[in-house]
Structure formats: structure tokens, C-alpha cells
């Protein structure tokens, strides 16, 4: 029982971080119908940027977020304009899978050259501190990571619901054609949307770097988990991604704590297959139209 509760605590705290990463990915899909296989690489890129700012200037990774998100936003816009916009419309979904995979490799290559392939970790002064609450071990850095993820998700929510850009995005997600008729420039929305997805990856990357050691190849592990989460939540649904992120992280932490860590990765996939058998469009997905 103790192990189970400890697993749930860990899972929920980790789930917040995954929710943040996945929200960016599902947003990109919602706007452009592109499955971004580079989302994991962007998270790791964000982690490296935070690492570099910490090592060079002693800047705390949490405080580095405003800088890294801006940089990654620019990168995301560039990727969309350079590599995704030129794709022909009829093959777009297949080709974009390959193109974003190539972008992931490109980022990985750049990171390997810049930071070599040894593991890095961001060792802040509070990295090892923890509290004991009712006999359960709660790590400080995880609580901060969770809080920050909630904050970032809240900002994203405000951006999507309270701004003109947000309204344009939601209109594009729900019906690209009528959005165009309403005078929304879909190319611009797509570029900004991809940038926004990359920015959430940067924020999540800072947090990820604090929690786990990482190297340039870490993005493959991440992307396999993120894919399960966004499909589970329903491609294009930000709310779904958040819920699915928490569900998946919690169930995998519980399996790790109660059965064996060897099978925890399997939970991601098993949950996904089960859901697809019952509801191929995911928990919160709708058929044909996107939802946010």
C-alpha cells in the first residue's frame, strides 16, 4: 500500500511535466495536422539551453525559462517556414512524419556536436532535498517542477482562450476552411502555432533537465511516450493531452512501484492499445474535426 501511494504521488508530479510536453505536440497537430516527431528533440534542446545557462551564468533553470522559450519559439517558427510549409498538400500527413523525424535527427546532431554525447544533469543546490510527509518521500524539485508545469499550462490556456491569436488558433483547429474564409491567415497561424509548441517544449525541457540526466539521444524515449499520450488524449485536444499525461505517468509509476520498473514502459503502450480498441479517436478526440 505504501508503495502504491508513493507511486501515485510520483506519477502525478511527473504527469504534470508530461502534460506540458504533450500539450505542445497536440497543439501542433490540431493546427496543422502534423505529428511532430521532433517534439522530444525540442524538449531536450530546451534542457540543454537551460543547462548551458546554468553552467555559464549560474542561472537557475526555472528562471531560464523566459529566455529558452523565446529562443525555441523562433526555432519552431523557422522549422515550420523552412521545412513544413513547402510540402504538397495531398501527401502532407505522411511526408510531415518523415520531415519532422529528420528535424529531430538534425537537432540531435547539432546537440551531439555542441555538447557531446555524455549525460548531463543540472545539479542545483536543492537537487537532493526532500520532505517526508506522513511517511511519504516527496522530492522538492519534483514539486517545483509540477507547480511550474501547471503555471505554464495555465498561461497556455489563457493564451488560447483570451487572445485574438488564441481565437484564430481555435478556429483553425475546428475548421480550417471557414477559418480561412473569416480572413485568418492559416500560414501565419501555423508558424506561430509551431513556435508555441516549441516554446512549451522549451519550458518542459528546463524542468526535464532538473529531474533527469539527459543526452542528445534522450529524445527517442521521450517521443515514444509523448506519442502514446497525445493519441490517448485524442490528437489535437490540449485538455485531453493533460489528462492523458497524468493518467499515463501515474499508471506507469504505479506499475514501477508495485510490479517492476521493467514493465512500466509497457503500461504506456498497453493503455494506448486498449483505448484504441474501444475508442480509436482517443479519450477526448472527435472524428473529423479537431477539438481543444
Amino acid at each position: 500500500m505504501h508503495a502504491l501511494v508513493q507511486g501515485v504521488i510520483l506519477g502525478v508530479l511527473t504527469g504534470g511535466v508530461y502534460a506540458l510536453m504533450a500539450s505542445g505536440q497536440t497543439l501542433i497537430f490540431g493546427i496543422m495536422k502534423v505529428v511532430n516527431l521532433a517534439q522530444g528533440a525540442m524538449v531536450i534542446m530546451g534542457a540543454y539551453l537551460a543547462y548551458q545557462l546554468f553552467v555559464s551564468f549560474g542561472l537557475d533553470p526555472f528562471l531560464a525559462i523566459p529566455i529558452t522559450t523565446v529562443v525555441m519559439f523562433g526555432l519552431g517558427v523557422a522549422v515550420q517556414l523552412l521545412f513544413l510549409r513547402p510540402l504538397r498538400r495531398d501527401d502532407k500527413s505522411e511526408l510531415s512524419l518523415l520531415v519532422t523525424f529528420a528535424v529531430a535527427l538534425l537537432l540531435e546532431g547539432i546537440m551531439s556536436v555542441t555538447w557531446s554525447t555524455t549525460y548531463r544533469s543540472i545539479n542545483t543546490s536543492y537537487a537532493n532535498s526532500s520532505w517526508t510527509v506522513l511517511g511519504y518521500q516527496i522530492t522538492a524539485v519534483r514539486v517545483w517542477a509540477f507547480a511550474l508545469s501547471l503555471l505554464a499550462l495555465g498561461l497556455l490556456f489563457l493564451l488560447l482562450n483570451r487572445t485574438r491569436f488564441g481565437r484564430a488558433v481555435r478556429a483553425t483547429v475546428q475548421n480550417p476552411e471557414s477559418a480561412r474564409l473569416l480572413g485568418i491567415e492559416s500560414d501565419r497561424v501555423a508558424a506561430l502555432g509551431f513556435g508555441l509548441g516549441a516554446a512549451t517544449a522549451a519550458a518542459a525541457g528546463s524542468v526535464y533537465g532538473l529531474l533527469y540526466p539527459f543526452y542528445s539521444g534522450s529524445h527517442y524515449d521521450l517521443i515514444s511516450r509523448l506519442l502514446s499520450i497525445v493519441v490517448l488524449g485524442g490528437l489535437g485536444s490540449v485538455g485531453g493531452a493533460v489528462v492523458a499525461g497524468v493518467i499515463v505517468a501515474t499508471s506507469s509509476a504505479v506499475v514501477a512501484a508495485t510490479v517492476s520498473p521493467a514493465w512500466s514502459e509497457m503500461t504506456f503502450f498497453a493503455v494506448l492499445i486498449l483505448v484504441l480498441l474501444v475508442r480509436p479517436q482517443g479519450l477526448f478526440g472527435t472524428v473529423g474535426r479537431g477539438a481543444i
Binding site: G109, V113, S224, M266
Partner: protein
């Protein structure tokens, strides 16, 4: 396909069969063995990813299933002639196809993007199983196979000839699919699945059949690979990279064409192995690779062969326009092929 096409195919295979008897160096035959493996897998992937338009990212799972089936069948066994594992290949193909059947039924409920994700998820599941079911697979410690008792002087030759035969099967299946009703049904599925269903194509049967045949062939390649390597372990027996390489080869050569996947495999696999050997290592490879990848996708999104064909057709059409009294000049050698190519639709 015209008579010239049949002659081209026959000549190609005669040349392939004769090659090792010209006293080729071991390292050349070794290279051809790996090229053939990828040519077969790319041709097989093409049946699902090229014709039916279902971009499977899970084929490497079946490569692994084939490799582990072979290893389990012969682990610790003593070989007398060394041909026993080859005899077992059809069985391994069957194992792959039988496992592929329900997977196809489940995953093909979804379309392009989600299908790609579901199949790659299946791949990760198989990899996790290969790691965790230690009593069967040996886990991360790997599983060894007996070493083939072939003489050192012609060690690679049996592997090579078996693979040539498998490539012939894969290409005949592709050829058949292009000529038959099944092929037309697959293309109809690719173009518009709902409409195809509407006009009476038995959509699910056709695509599930294509998937099973495709993964069965892939499993057989995995079996040959395991025997050639003599030692397998999860990271490389169930390797997402194999899928990615196969997809890239098909895209480079040309989807939904007969020769495209083979051409792509020759260029990429031979190029990779030679360059890794010649140029040594540097992290810049990854960057160069990604850039080449992007250039192919952006400049040649339909692949080499369809692009070339279109060029030739345009030029001929131009010539016809200039000399309208030349009968039949506009007819391309393989009109059927062009029509099947994705470019043919646009």
C-alpha cells in the same frame, strides 16, 4: 508492364544469380547481402505503405519476430548441412503473417497519422517484450545461433542466393499486385478509402491481406539476418531504425513502383555501409544525414523513379506536340506503373 519490362526483370535476376560466381571478394558479397535484405524489406513495405497508403512504422517489430523465431528454433542446435535454417524460412514467414493479421485488424481501424503511431507503439511493445521475457529471449544478454558450417571461401554465397530468391518473390508479388484487382483495390484504398468501400471494394480484407504478406516477408528477412549475424539482442533485432531506413528507401526510389524500393535500398544501404567504413566517425554525420533526408523530402517528395518518368513523359509529350504524326510516341513503356504511382493522380 511491357515485354521490355519482363526482359529487364529477367536480366536483372540472371545477373544477380551469376554475380557471386565471378569470384567477387568476400567484402563485396557481404555488402550485397545487406543490400538485398533491405531491398526485400523495402519492397515488402511498399505493398502496405506505398500502394495502400498506410505508412507502417512497425515493420521492424516483424523483423525482430523473425529473428527471434529463427534464434529460438536453432539456439543450441547442431547444424549438419547448414541449410536447415533456410528450410525453416517459410515457417517463419507464416509466423510473421499470422501475428500480423490481428495487428492489422486493430491498427487499420485508424488512418495515416494514428496508424503510424499505433504501429510504432507495437514496435516498442515487441522490443519491451524482447527485453523482459528473459526465459525466452535471453533479455539484454542476447541469444546466439549456431555458426553456419559453410567453407570460409564461399561462406556468404548461400545467404546471398536465398536472399535473391526472396527478392524475386517480393518483386513478383509487387508486380502481381500492380496487375491484379487486388492492386487496384489497394490504390483505391489509398486514394479514398471511404469511396472505395462505397463502390464495393472489400477494403478491410484487401488491406489486411497486404499487411500480412508484407510483414511475413519482413519476418523472413529477420530470420536470415539472425542466422548471418549468429547473435541477436533486443536493441538491434527490434530496431526502429530499420523501419525508418526502409521507409526512406521506398520514398527515395519511388513509392508504389516496382523498382523504386530496390533502387532506394541499393543507394542508401550500400552508401551507408561504405561511407561508415571509409569516412570513420564524426558527429557531423547526423547533421549531414538529416539535411540529405530533408532535401530528398522537399525536392523529390515522390521519389527518383516517378520524377524521372514524369520528366521523360513530359519530354515525349513535347516531342509529340512538335511532330504530331508520330503515332504512339506519347505512350510510356509502363503506362500502368505511372498510373499507379502517387504522382499519377495529381
Amino acid at each position: 508492364m511491357s515485354r521490355a519490362g519482363v526482359a529487364r526483370g529477367g536480366g536483372f535476376f540472371l545477373l544477380l544469380l551469376a554475380l557471386p560466381f565471378f569470384g567477387l571478394a568476400h567484402w563485396v558479397v557481404n555488402l550485397l547481402v545487406f543490400v538485398l535484405m533491405f531491398a526485400i524489406m523495402a519492397s515488402a513495405w511498399n505493398l502496405v505503405g506505398g500502394f495502400a497508403g498506410y505508412p507502417s512504422l512497425g515493420h521492424a517489430a516483424f523483423f525482430g519476430i523473425g529473428a527471434y523465431s529463427m534464434a529460438l528454433m536453432f539456439h543450441g542446435a547442431a547444424l549438419s548441412s547448414g541449410y536447415e535454417p533456410f528450410v525453416a524460412l517459410p515457417l517463419i514467414g507464416l509466423v510473421g503473417a499470422v501475428i500480423g493479421w490481428p495487428i492489422a485488424i486493430i491498427s487499420m481501424r485508424t488512418r495515416a497519422d494514428v496508424f503510424a503511431i499505433v504501429t510504432i507503439t507495437f514496435l516498442f511493445m515487441i522490443q519491451t517484450l524482447a527485453f523482459n521475457v528473459r526465459s525466452l529471449t535471453g533479455g539484454s544478454q542476447g541469444l546466439s545461433l549456431p555458426v553456419a558450417p559453410f567453407p570460409a571461401a564461399s561462406y556468404e554465397r548461400p545467404f546471398y542466393l536465398v536472399l535473391v530468391a526472396m527478392l524475386a518473390v517480393a518483386m513478383l508479388l509487387t508486380f502481381g499486385a500492380m496487375r491484379s484487382k487486388i492492386g487496384l483495390s489497394l490504390v483505391a484504398v489509398r486514394a479514398d478509402e471511404d469511396k472505395a468501400r462505397g463502390i464495393g471494394v472489400r477494403v478491410s480484407g484487401v488491406k489486411v491481406l497486404a499487411f500480412s504478406v508484407s510483414v511475413g516477408l519482413t519476418a523472413m528477412v529477420g530470420g536470415v539476418w539472425a542466422y548471418y549475424e549468429t547473435f541477436i539482442y533486443p536493441q538491434f533485432a527490434v530496431d526502429p531504425l530499420i523501419t525508418i531506413a526502409v521507409v526512406l528507401m521506398t520514398f527515395l526510389g519511388g513509392r508504389a513502383t516496382l523498382w523504386g524500393p530496390v533502387l532506394g535500398a541499393v543507394i542508401l544501404e550500400a552508401g551507408q555501409q561504405t561511407l561508415a567504413y571509409r569516412l570513420g566517425g564524426s558527429q557531423f554525420y547526423l547533421i549531414a544525414y538529416a539535411l540529405v533526408f530533408l532535401v530528398i523530402m522537399l525536392l523529390l517528395p515522390r521519389g527518383i523513379l516517378p520524377t524521372l518518368e514524369e520528366r521523360i513523359r513530359l519530354r515525349r509529350r513535347a516531342r509529340v506536340a512538335n511532330a504530331p504524326d508520330t503515332p504512339g510516341a506519347a505512350r510510356t513503356a509502363d503506362a500502368g506503373r505511372v498510373a499507379l504511382a502517387p504522382g499519377g493522380r495529381s
